[in-house]
């Protein structure tokens, strides 16, 4: 899985460069965009906030929007929690900062095949943050001088990483069923409601299939068990 990290880190840097450029265009100074990265710590929410900052939206609306965009973290935290059974509350409170789309994707893919070490999560979270800071700062310095990120497919890197991780993870029929249901629900919700609700709705809804379809003895990717056989779950 070493190549997972070497793929995800450049993809986050690219994502950060795009964000940094947009942030300058939205009127943030270099210092402000760095401060935003350090304080907000959530890339998608930072993307969503830029047009709002540019149009002078009230602060409370920015905070509420951030909360809504980040609702998916509740699900990620819940599914990561069983791996961290032996950690103190202080460490858990610290690790919570590390829950991001990328660290979550890396960690769940890794823990499905190998023993669950909290250190792997901490490491991938740290790599995620450093890559995001570097990318955002570089994008801010360049100030949106990359002519057209869309033209070079830079925006495609983000979904591509998740699709590649999914393609390597999904093996068993029940996993295909969950992915198929999530795809249908996400598209339906995105097409009708818009915003980022599709992530929470499809995540919550399609996962319910796992209750009936996921194997009972070997608990698949999200459940750590002291029994090594539990880790050779069908993939």
């Amino acid at each position: 899985m070493r190549d997972a990290l070497t793929t995800v880190v450049p993809s986050i840097v690219a994502y950060g460069v795009v964000w940094g450029g947009l942030a300058r265009q939205a009127g943030l100074s270099l210092g402000e965009l760095v401060a935003m990265c350090l304080l907000v710590t959530a890339g998608t929410a930072q993307f969503v906030a830029l047009p709002m900052l540019q149009s002078g939206a009230p602060a409370w609306l920015l905070v509420v929007t951030t909360y809504i965009v980040n609702l998916r973290h509740y699900l990620m935290a819940a599914s990561l929690a069983p791996y961290f059974v032996h950690l103190s509350r202080g460490r858990l409170a610290l690790l919570a900062h590390g829950i991001t789309d990328e660290s979550y994707a890396l960690t769940t893919a890794r823990f499905a095949r190998q023993p669950a070490h909290p250190a792997y999560f901490a490491g991938s979270a740290a790599a995620t943050y450093v890559a995001w800071y570097l990318g955002a700062a570089a994008g801010g310095v360049l100030g949106g001088r990359i002519p057209d990120p869309h033209r070079y497919g830079l925006d495609f890197v983000f979904p591509a990483v998740f699709i590649a991780i999914l393609a390597r993870t999904i093996q068993a029929p029940w996993q295909w069923a969950v992915a198929g249901a999530a795809a249908l629900v996400a598209l339906a919700v995105k097409g009708t409601v818009g915003g980022t609700w599709h992530i929470a709705v499809a995540g919550l809804g399609a996962s319910a299939l796992g209750i009936w379809l996921a194997p009972r003895a070997a608990r698949g990717s999200a459940a750590p068990t002291p029994d090594p056989r539990g880790r050779t779950a069908p993939r």
Partner: protein
């Protein structure tokens, strides 16, 4: 030149973010969960990652050619490459090259 009001807003946004990350991690770690909850959580990564990625490559950003003729084929290529080679970097790089080509041709 950092506007102090903006810093406060960012800090509040960070607090809102932390509120989505910490509570369930603290509440659910260190306890044994019922089997059905564990099976639910086993399905969550697949459902969440699919929900994150798929609308982006099917519906796209509205810029240029429709995403389903450029991004969706490239996404399929990413999936095939990832399964065949097992290398994420190869798969993602191949997808980016293909999407840029398709956008140049069809955009």
């Amino acid at each position: 030149m950092i506007r102090p009001g903006l810093l406060l807003t960012f800090a509040a946004m960070g607090a809102a973010t932390y509120l989505t990350r910490a509570p369930l991690l603290l509440a659910l770690a260190r306890r044994r969960l019922p089997g059905w909850v564990e099976r639910y959580f086993a399905a969550l990564p697949i459902a969440l990652l699919t929900a994150l990625a798929l609308p982006l490559v099917v519906l796209g950003s509205g810029e240029g050619a429709p995403a389903w003729v450029t991004d969706l084929p490239a996404a399929a290529a990413v999936a095939v490459l990832a399964r065949r080679t097992g290398h994420l970097l190869v798969a993602v790089a191949g997808g980016v090259v293909l999407v840029a080509a398709l956008r140049a041709l069809l955009g």
